[in-house]
Point group: C2
Chain length 542, copies 2
C-alpha cells in the first residue's frame, strides 16, 4: 500500500523558486501620511489580494496541467505558469507595500492584540521583509536551475543515473547556501529555509525534537519488527475504479470535506490545491490492484483541504487566510489519514460499507485482519510507502543529510553512499540502486536543499497532540468515530486551528489549541498504544 504525501509543500517551494527576476521599482501611489489606518490597510489588502489572486490563477493552470491538459499544451503552459509566478513575485516586492506598512504599523498598535488586522500586518511585514532580501537575479537563477534539475531527475531516476543529476544537485546546494546567506546572521545555515516552511522553527529546535523522538522510535521499530509480520495480502486484489472513487468520495464527504467548495479528480500524484476559500480541490490516484492507495491518499488530501476550507471567512483573500505551516498542514492530513482513518473505531463504522462495495475479498476477511493489514509495520526503502511508525526515520535521515550537505560535511558525490549507510543503520535495509535510494524524492530536484522534509514528522507529532486535546475536550469523540460521526472532532479542529489561518505563529497556535508547546509525548503514547496492542508488545515500565 502506498501513501503519497501532498504535493503542497513541493509546490510552495517550486512556486518560490520560479518567482521572478525583476523587482518592480515603481510606486503607483505615494502613501498619504495623513490618511486613516483603515485607508492604508484597505490598499495593503488590495495589493496583497492581487498577489494571492495571481498565485491562485497559477494554481488553476497547475491543476489543469495535472488533470486534463492534452499533451500538446505542455510547452506554453510552462511559460504561462512561470509568467504568473513572476508577476506575483514582482507585486509582492513592490516598495509601495513597504511604505504602506511603514505608514500603518505605528497606528496599528491601537488595535486589539488579537485583532485579525494586527496579525495581518505582522504577517505582511514578515513576508515582505523575507521576499525583498532575495535579489531578483537569485530568484531567476534558482528557477532556471530547478527547472533543469527537475527535468534531468525525471529521466535520471528511472535510469538509475545519479551521475546525470550530480552537477544539478551540486549547483542546488550552492544556491541554497547563497539563499541562506541573504538572511545572515543565522544560527544555522538551514534556518532560513526551515523558517519558510515552518515559521518560528529552527534547525536546533527540530534537532532536539527529532533526537528525542528517534531515541524512542528506533527501539519501538526493532520491537515491532521482531514480531511476526502482518498479512496484508487482502489489500491486493481487483478493485474497480468507479467503486473505489465512490467509496473514497463517500468517506471524505462524511468526514467533512465540502464538495460544494471542492472536487476530486484523478492525477498521477495526489495533491490538494486551493484557488480561493470557496474552491479547494483534491486529487487521487487509483490503483485497481491496491485498495489502500486511493482511499488513504484521498483521506490525506481531504485533511489538507478541510484545513483550508475551515479558515474563517473574515480572513479569506488576505495573506493570513491560509494554513500556517508545512507542519501544521501535515498534522491535519495525517490526523485524518492515520489517527482517524487507520483506527479501529473508524473501521467499525466503515468496514460494513467497504465489504458491500468489495465483497471479494472483504466478505471473507474479518475486520481484525483488515485492521492489521492497513497498519502493517515493516522496514522499507521508500519513504512514501512507509507505515506510520517507520515513516519518521525516513524523514529524519533526509533532514540530517540536508544539514550535512549545507554545512559542507557531505559532498554531493558521496551522497549515494551516505544514503545507503544511513538507511542500513536506521532501518536495517539498503537499496540495490540509487533509484530506490537518494533519487527517490523529487524535493531536492525541484526546490531548495533544507527545510522541505521536517514538516512530515512535525505533522505526525502534532496530529496526535491535536487529537489528544480534542478528545480531552470531548471524550465522546472515539465513540462518535465508531458511529460514523465526525462533526465534534471536525468542529474542534475548525474552532481551534482551521479558522485562525495564519493569524498566529505555529507555536502560538499549538499552545492555544493544546494548552502547551509542541511535545512528542502524545504521539509516542499513540504509537505505543496502537502498535503495542497490534504487535502484542510488552507494556512499558512506569
Amino acid at each position: 500500500m502506498r501513501k503519497k504525501e501532498s504535493d503542497k509543500t513541493r509546490r510552495a517551494t517550486a512556486a518560490r523558486a520560479k518567482a521572478a527576476p525583476k523587482a518592480a521599482t515603481k510606486v503607483r501611489k505615494k502613501p498619504q501620511p495623513g490618511r486613516s489606518v483603515e485607508a492604508g490597510l484597505a490598499e495593503l489588502k488590495a495589493r496583497l489580494r492581487e498577489v494571492g489572486d495571481l498565485e491562485f490563477a497559477g494554481a488553476v493552470l497547475g491543476w489543469d496541467q495535472a488533470t486534463y491538459m492534452p499533451r500538446g499544451g505542455a510547452a506554453a503552459r510552462g511559460r504561462q505558469a512561470a509568467m504568473l509566478s513572476r508577476m506575483a513575485h514582482e507585486k509582492s516586492v513592490d516598495p509601495a507595500i513597504g511604505k504602506l506598512l511603514d505608514e500603518i504599523e505605528p497606528r496599528a498598535e491601537a488595535l486589539a492584540d488579537d485583532a485579525d488586522d494586527r496579525s495581518l500586518i505582522r504577517f505582511a511585514r514578515r513576508d515582505f521583509e523575507k521576499a525583498i532580501k532575495v535579489p531578483p537575479d537569485h530568484v531567476e537563477r534558482a528557477a532556471t536551475l530547478r527547472a533543469a534539475a527537475f527535468d534531468a531527475w525525471t529521466r535520471a531516476r528511472p535510469a538509475n543515473d545519479f551521475a546525470a543529476v550530480r552537477p544539478f544537485l551540486e549547483h542546488n546546494v550552492e544556491l541554497s547556501r547563497e539563499y541562506a546567506g541573504y538572511f545572515a546572521p543565522f544560527r544555522h545555515i538551514a534556518d532560513p529555509m526551515i523558517d519558510d516552511f515552518d515559521p518560528g522553527m529552527t534547525t536546533e529546535s527540530i534537532r532536539n525534537l527529532f533526537d528525542a523522538l528517534r531515541r524512542e522510535l528506533v527501539p519501538l521499530v526493532r520491537a515491532i519488527c521482531d514480531q511476526p509480520g502482518a498479512d496484508d495480502r487482502c489489500l491486493n486484489g481487483t478493485f474497480p475504479e468507479p467503486a473505489q472513487i465512490a467509496f473514497a468520495v463517500a468517506v471524505v464527504g462524511r468526514l467533512g470535506y465540502d464538495f460544494g467548495r471542492g472536487r476530486i479528480d484523478k492525477t498521477h500524484h495526489p495533491f490538494c490545491t486551493k484557488f480561493s476559500a470557496g474552491d479547494v480541490r483534491i486529487t487521487t490516484r487509483i490503483n485497481e490492484h491496491d485498495i489502500g492507495q486511493a482511499l488513504f491518499s484521498t483521506i490525506h488530501e481531504a485533511g489538507h483541504a478541510m484545513y483550508e476550507q475551515g479558515v474563517a471567512e473574515a480572513l479569506a483573500d488576505t495573506p493570513i487566510g491560509r494554513g500556517v505551516s508545512a507542519g501544521v498542514h501535515e498534522s491535519q492530513s495525517r490526523l485524518w489519514e492515520n489517527v482517524v482513518g487507520r483506527s479501529g473505531s473508524f473501521w467499525e463504522h466503515f468496514y460494513p460499507a467497504l465489504r458491500k462495495s468489495f465483497p471479494n475479498p472483504f466478505g471473507a476477511v474479518p475486520i481484525e485482519a483488515f485492521y492489521r493489514a492497513i497498519n502493517k509495520v515493516e522496514r522499507s526503502l521508500i519513504r512514501t510507502d512507509a507505515d506510520e511508525v517507520t515513516y519518521n526515520l525516513h524523514v529524519m535521515m533526509r533532514f540530517d543529510l540536508e544539514q550535512d550537505l549545507l554545512e559542507g560535511r557531505l559532498a554531493v558525490k558521496d551522497l549515494p553512499e551516505a544514503w545507503r549507510a544511513r538507511i542500513a543503520a536506521d532501518l536495517g535495509v539498503a537499496p540495490d540502486d540509487d533509484r530506490d535510494g537518494c533519487l527517490q524524492d523529487v524535493h531536492w530536484f525541484s526546490g531548495g536543499i533544507g527545510g522541505s522534509f521536517q514538516g512530515y514528522t512535525i505533522g505526525n507529532i502534532l496530529s496526535a497532540q491535536f487529537f489528544a486535546a480534542a478528545v480531552k475536550a470531548h471524550p465522546g469523540i472515539p465513540r462518535e468515530i465508531a458511529a460514523g460521526e465526525f462533526g465534534t472532532l471536525h468542529g474542534w479542529l475548525v474552532a481551534n486551528l482551521h479558522r485562525h489561518g495564519r493569524k498566529f505563529l505555529p507555536d502560538e497556535l499549538v499552545a492555544r489549541a493544546t494548552g502547551g508547546p509542541m511535545t512528542i509525548a502524545p504521539y509516542l503514547a499513540y504509537l505505543r498504544g496502537k502498535y503495542g496492542e497490534l504487535y502484542r508488545l510488552p507494556a512499558e515500565g512506569p
Copy 2:
C-alpha cells in the same frame, strides 16, 4: 434540434469589455535607435506574447469555470479573471509598444511583402492604435455596466421582464456610441465595432451583402415553407449520454480535430477555447432526448478548433497566430457542421455507425428520412434553433436593429415591439413574449451594441464559397466525404486558410483562397441545390 453558436465571439467581446481601467505609463526600456530591427522585433514579440499569455491564462480560468468549478468558487473566480483581463489590457497599451513600432516600422520595409514579420508588425500597429484610442475609464465603465447587465439579463430572461433590463440596455447603447466616438471620423457609427469583429468590413459593405442575400432568401424560405414540412421526430428519442459522446468524439476525430492538442468536456453552452497552439478545447452539451444537439454542436465547435489548430507553427504565440475574424471563424464551424455534417455524402459514410450506436430508432429509419430530418426548414422564433436557411434572416434583423438603436432611430423602450414587427414580417412568426423575442440573445447584455451578429451570416456565406473553391481544386472531395475521408478537404483549408492565422486581412485571405472577393453566389447555389432537391422546388430560370 438546437444549434448553438460558439461563445467565442461573445467571449472576445466580454474580454474587451472587462479590460482594464489604467493604461500603464511607465516605459521599462528605452528603445535604442541604433539596434537592429531583429532586436526590436524580438522585444515586441516578447511583450505581445505576454499579453497573449495573460489572455490565455484567463481562458483557462473561464474554461474551468464552465466545466468543473464547484459553485463555491464563483466569486473569487470572477475577480481573478477580471484581474488577468485588466493586466492584459494594461500591457497591450504600454507606450513602449508604440515606441517599438515607431522604431521597427521604417526598417520593416526591407522585409519581403509576404514575410510573416511584416504582417505581424502591421497587425500589432493596428491593434495598438485601436486599443490606445479608448480611454481607460471607458473600458472600466463598460466592464462594470456589462457585468451588471449580464447579471440582470440572466434573471430577466426567464422572468420575461424586459423592464428590468431596459435601463442597462439604454446605458449600453450610450456606451457603444461613446466607444464609436473614439474612432471618429467614420462613415457609420457601427463601423468601429464591426471592424473589431470583422476587420476591413463596414456597415455599408455588410448591408450591401445582406440586402442581396435577403432578396433571394425571403422567396426561397417562402417556397420551402409552402411545401409539406419534414418529419424530424426520429431525432427525439432516448440516446444515452456515453454513446452520444463516443459517437461525436469519433466523428470529429475523423474530420481532423486533433485530440493530442485538444479535448472535449461538457458545459451548459458549447464553446471552443484556446490556451495555446497546442491546446484548443471544445465543449458540448448532451440532451439525451435529442440526438442532434450534441452531435452538430460538437462538429461546429470542432470546426472552430481545427481552424486554430491549423495555424502555422511559425505564427504560434504571436499576435497573428490566431483566426482572423468572426466571419472567417464562423465559416469554418459552419462548413463542417452544415456543408459537410448535414450533407448526404457525409451520412452515407456515418449513418451505418449511427445505426449501430443507436439501433433504436435508426434501425427502422431509412437514411433518406434521417437526412430530411436533420435538414428540416421551418419558420421559428429562436435564432439558435433555426435551420441553415432561415438562420440568416434572424441575423439580419438583429444587424438592422443594432443600426437603428445606434443611429437613434429606435428607442430601447420600443425594441420589443420593433422585434415583433420585424420577425413577423421576415419570418411570419411572432413571439408571445420577450423571452423568445428581444431577450433571447446574450450579446447585447454582455458586450457592446453593434458588430457581434454579422459574423454568423458572413460565416455561412464564406462556408459555401470556401467549400466550392476546395472542390474546384479537388473535385474528388465529395466522393471522399462519402467514403469517410476528410484529409483532402481539411488539408485544403489548412493550406489556404488556417495556416495563415491573421497574416492577411479577411478580404485578402478570401481572395487568395478563392480567387475573388466574398460573394453570395456559391452560398445561394448551395442552398438552392440542396433544398431545391429536398423540398422538390421548381428549378430556377437560367
